[in-house]
């Protein structure tokens, strides 16, 4: 490929990238505009004069902090649960023989593939039946073990050498001790991929937090954002500030852990 062709491709890509990122930029720009006298000046693409007023308003406004903390709490707890449980389950699949092993592993693949819409109604009823509706339990319990996470951990542990585990067993270490003090440290790269992936999915999650809660104080950020719109006139500067805050952890994680996020997302697709 000649140099000129490559320059053309580069320029085309730059233009496409600008178009691709424009909506995100528009969100951030709007979040910095003054609310009073908010007139959309479409010709003016610069964020100046910018004000942090909207962000201040949001944090001062009680419920918003609650939404943010709800999202954080749910995402963090679900992530921790997945790190521990997917490690345990993945380890059993990678290292142990047991009755109906193939069938149980098939169930993991089955749940990865199944369209989740099928459980909307029954899960709602089940959660109501247990009395977990509109509680943190409803937001956390069903997602503590992600089948994709089990799959990922099994693949990774299978690729590890067994020697260390055998040595530890000879030294008299118990099964749990072997798993958490020998295997777990070796799994750090896979756990990082899993943890970031689960955090992102749960931080962004809308459908199930939405159908399994009803009160304002149980709303997560995406639920609050989606329901906020219901009022008559939309206060775009504040709404876009809230959206930016919701998108920010994702962007930050993405900047630092791009490689892990990419391999986490493609893991399901590219099983080798």
């Amino acid at each position: 490929m000649s140099k000129i062709q490559r320059i053309i491709i580069f320029v085309i890509l730059l233009m496409l990238l600008a178009g691709m990122l424009f909506p995100m930029y528009w969100m951030i720009k709007t979040s910095f505009t003054q609310k009073a006298g908010y007139v959309v000046d479409l010709k003016n693409l610069s964020p100046w004069p910018l004000t942090l007023r909207n962000y201040k308003d949001l944090w001062m406004w009680g419920p918003f902090l609650r939404y943010f903390l709800n999202s954080l709490l749910v995402a963090v707890l679900v992530t921790l649960g997945n790190l521990i449980f997917c490690l345990m389950v993945g380890y059993a699949f990678a290292r142990r023989r047991f009755f109906l092993k193939n069938l149980l592993f098939l169930s993991v693949i089955f749940v990865i593939m199944i369209p989740a819409h099928i459980i909307i109604i029954p899960l709602f009823l089940l959660i109501k039946f247990f009395g977990w509706y509109d509680t943190y339990l409803a937001l956390i319990l069903p997602w503590l073990v992600t089948p994709l996470g089990v799959f990922l951990m099994r693949q990774y542990i299978e690729s590890l050498p067994k020697d260390l585990e055998d040595a530890a067993r000879i030294d008299g270490a118990g099964d749990f001790k072997i798993l958490f003090s020998i295997v777990m440290p070796l799994c750090k790269p896979a756990l990082a991929v899993l943890g970031i992936q689960v955090f992102l999915v749960n931080w962004n999650s809308f459908l199930f937090p939405f159908i399994l809660t009803s009160s304002q104080k149980m709303r997560t950020l995406p639920v609050a954002l989606a329901l906020y719109q219901g009022y008559q006139t939309i206060d775009w500067p504040h709404l876009m500030s809230a959206s930016t805050i919701s998108a920010l952890p994702v962007i930050i994680l993405f900047l630092f852990f791009q490689r892990q996020i990419i391999s986490g997302l493609t893991a399901g697709a590219l099983k080798k």
């Binding site: 969100m27 389950v89 169930s107 369209p115 989740a116 109604i121 029954p122 709602f124 089948p147 989606a226």
Partner: protein, 289 residues
Amino acid sequence: MKQKSTFLFLLPWILILSLFWLFPIIYSLILSFTRYSVLTGEASWIGFSNYLELFKDPDFWTALKNTTFFVVGTIPFTTFFALLLAVLINQKIPLKGLFRAGFFLPSITSMVVVALIFTNLYAKDGYINFLFQLIGLPTPEKGWLLSEKTALLSIMAMDVWMATGFYMLLFLAGLQAIPEELYQISDIFGASFFQKLVHIVLPYIRPMMLFVILLNTIKSFQIFVEIFVMTKGGPLNSTLTMVYMVYDTGLHKFRMGYASAIAYALFFIIFSFSFLQMKLFRVGKAIGE
């Protein structure tokens, strides 16, 4: 000793699987044959009535039509743009990492956030209209999401924008698996960029392409969040989709039995589509590698 710990290790999955997946899947199948009242908690067996009602329900046909239109209308564009971007980025150009990251970013942003941004952009006095007027194109009178003819198309365009980056990554992974020697040999024979594209890239990327289409089909049939945030199925049912109808029927109108029947109908449709694709293109072989 080992037996016991094996069971304990597996226990989290056994619990989650049976309680939150298997039980709901079976329970909802049973529900779909009943008339279930949430108020009294009583379910009465009505056989195939819910499924028969589906056939007579004009809303169901609208939802099925819209959902299918969404799937068939977005996937070719998403696939094409994703492959195009992947091929362009895979050339020897500077700032590769930046491009990859930038194109990918929208697809990990929250769907709710993306839907809100586009609600703003699609508004009557929004940016899209501004651009259209700038180049002298006609714009819908009430804004893109409020007019019947453009609402679904607007959401589709947004989805293509959002999903492209993710599938681009899959294609990039596929492209990187092509042996460098093939390019070198074709260079010796003086092959052009397009010749390489047609004779090397496309045959190699085929399994990945079929997989991308399959994955996207399963995902697109379940479109819900965008609809909920942007249009709530309106205007005049023009964006009513299957999953939105499941939600609306079950959790709004509280007809759990009928909602389950819709959910199972969609499940069956997704299953048949995927099965057909796998049979037609033998995707199974491609991902089994």
